[in-house]
Symmetry: C2
Subunit: 403 residues, 2 copies
Amino acid sequence: MLIVQKFGGSSVADAGRVRNVAGIIAENYSFGHDMVVVLSAQGDTTDELLEKAAELNAAPSRRELDMLLATGEQQSIALMALCLESMGLPAVSLTGWQAGIRTNADHGAARIRRVDTERLRRELDKKRIVLVAGFQGVDRFDDYTTLGRGGSDTTAVALAAALHADRCQIFTDVQGVYTADPRKVPGARKLEEITYDEMLELASMGAQVLMNRSVQMAKRYGVELEVLSSLVRAPGTKVKEVTRTMEEMKITGIAKDENVARLTVAKAADRPGIAFRLLHELARAGVDVDMIIQASGRDDANDISFVVARDQAGRAADALTAQKAAIGFDHVSVDTDIAKISVVGAGMMSSSSIAAEVFEAFHDEHINIQMINTSEIKISCVIDAASADRAVKAIHRRFFETA
Amino acid sequence: MLIVQKFGGSSVADAGRVRNVAGIIAENYSFGHDMVVVLSAQGDTTDELLEKAAELNAAPSRRELDMLLATGEQQSIALMALCLESMGLPAVSLTGWQAGIRTNADHGAARIRRVDTERLRRELDKKRIVLVAGFQGVDRFDDYTTLGRGGSDTTAVALAAALHADRCQIFTDVQGVYTADPRKVPGARKLEEITYDEMLELASMGAQVLMNRSVQMAKRYGVELEVLSSLVRAPGTKVKEVTRTMEEMKITGIAKDENVARLTVAKAADRPGIAFRLLHELARAGVDVDMIIQASGRDDANDISFVVARDQAGRAADALTAQKAAIGFDHVSVDTDIAKISVVGAGMMSSSSIAAEVFEAFHDEHINIQMINTSEIKISCVIDAASADRAVKAIHRRFFETA
């Protein structure tokens, strides 16, 4: 069996953690499996390197930043190889380049174009444990690139797809995907399985166990993922196309996203296409818009509200204000005192009563829903920030704790 | 004009030093020169990485150690590129691989086989300042290799040779090559020029401004070197085939080497070939022997003494003791209380009186010479350690301070 494992930066933060991970790898290798292991940079290495760069250049070029950052993962794989060797195991570390990971030239957010598996296969044939630097590759100019946030997950999925791996295990500091944030909701349960689509919705809702790019790639290539803990030896959560629980469970998980803000354009002229103009300006400013509500007012003027990421709200407001005269509105206001509660479940596809149940839960708690957005497998509601935790608990109780 | 510059680890140890070096590079670039700059890892980076490796593996494989160590220089070049970019200068960093430095597979002490200059030429044609990671290359398996101690100097010389550079400047923390250690001998003078051979002799004598491999390579390819300080703007010392001063100056420099020990094999059987047997055992143990003295004693037995590096003395003694019965001798003793004083000068080739003058200087100071070794351009004397500084001063006075 060919297994691809990925360990994040906190799992290899120091010598003790490296030894712990080496133990997990060694155990799997001892069962006779072919092992490809993707590692992130140790602990805070990447942040430390970014600080060093910032000391010298406030606006560093992405090409040179990638050159700098790529060293973090290279150190991790070399150290892990040395640790495995000290245990008497055959190991070889490979940088993204050596592992055949070819990307486009979009430094800092490069996309994997292909994986040349020749070298990987050759090392596996020698029964070596292959350690691959995550998060990195090389472009067609042979320049080092990095894949952006969560890039090591993407590396693992890409290698699993290219090598037709039997398993792709993403080790992290949580034990899997939960029905709600277990730090906030004591009754939260670990899910045995979750579909790619559910995972995608949950990830984008702030439950960032896996980055969306890696889940999307896993879905596209049919790579079954398992999310599990490097510290606690227990089965994690499987991420796959179809799950046994799809029919049984109404919903899969509840997520709270506090990185949201509401942007309200007051007294916009009541002209056709005005919402489009506003959206166009936001897109030009690189702001992603999550929800829109257009409320008809008096005097031929509307208030139009957008939900955007909180850290983009200022930029968004500036971009719209700059076009105030051209577009025609009174002013822009920003409300950051909100939260978005998302309820996710593939079961929604076959049951229309779930939305009603969710709304009822809010109603029972006297929580006012400001905006609503739905997809096939998700309902998102914007509410005031202060009620967010209470809302999650109420929904969790309703769907998971009573039966 | 194409200039290759090399800056050592202490010259780029922190952000302030990096900026200082960037200033030197920028100045030369502003004169319209093509610039290739080789950098070492920052300050103690290499030692820190070795410590991390040692935590995990007491006997690390050189392949993985090279993978780890190569990151130090990669960080240096990326940071320098970012610094130059912040000054508005076009820069590009290249790892050993990207710079086309191909080596043999002797990890940890690899030798450069060739430099594929295509990429370097392309970047220079774009008028970019090219920053190359020193100390590293890749072998024919595309594995990372390092060149061993002083490897960055070798990288600089190899690039200067391959690119037919007009200048090759080695920046370091001293201002050049001196007639004697300026910290010990107040009258020591900086040399304007020195021949390759003189430099080789001085370097191996402990005046380690340049590593011998880089000087040998410079001699072979006729690359004229200049050794100068990255902190003090002053002309340094030129290292070349023939110097103006060869005829004028009797000697060029005096060096003291304290990393020596005398190994004495007591009462060795007086048989032909016994010295060879002993040398053979030392070679097998990887011990370099510098001098040999065989003193005839009574009773068909000899004492044989070797001068070896002090840090190899224990290993050497062990290797010989293990063969005591087979070779036939009484015991091995080690004396570390000695120093080697070397007097170097191409002028010796044409003047036979220099050796006599040197011995006279020792005699005037009542210093006993225990062993002597000479070459065409060097006289080395082993004396007791306590007299070493006095000996250097006396010889320096005789050749440089009186006239």
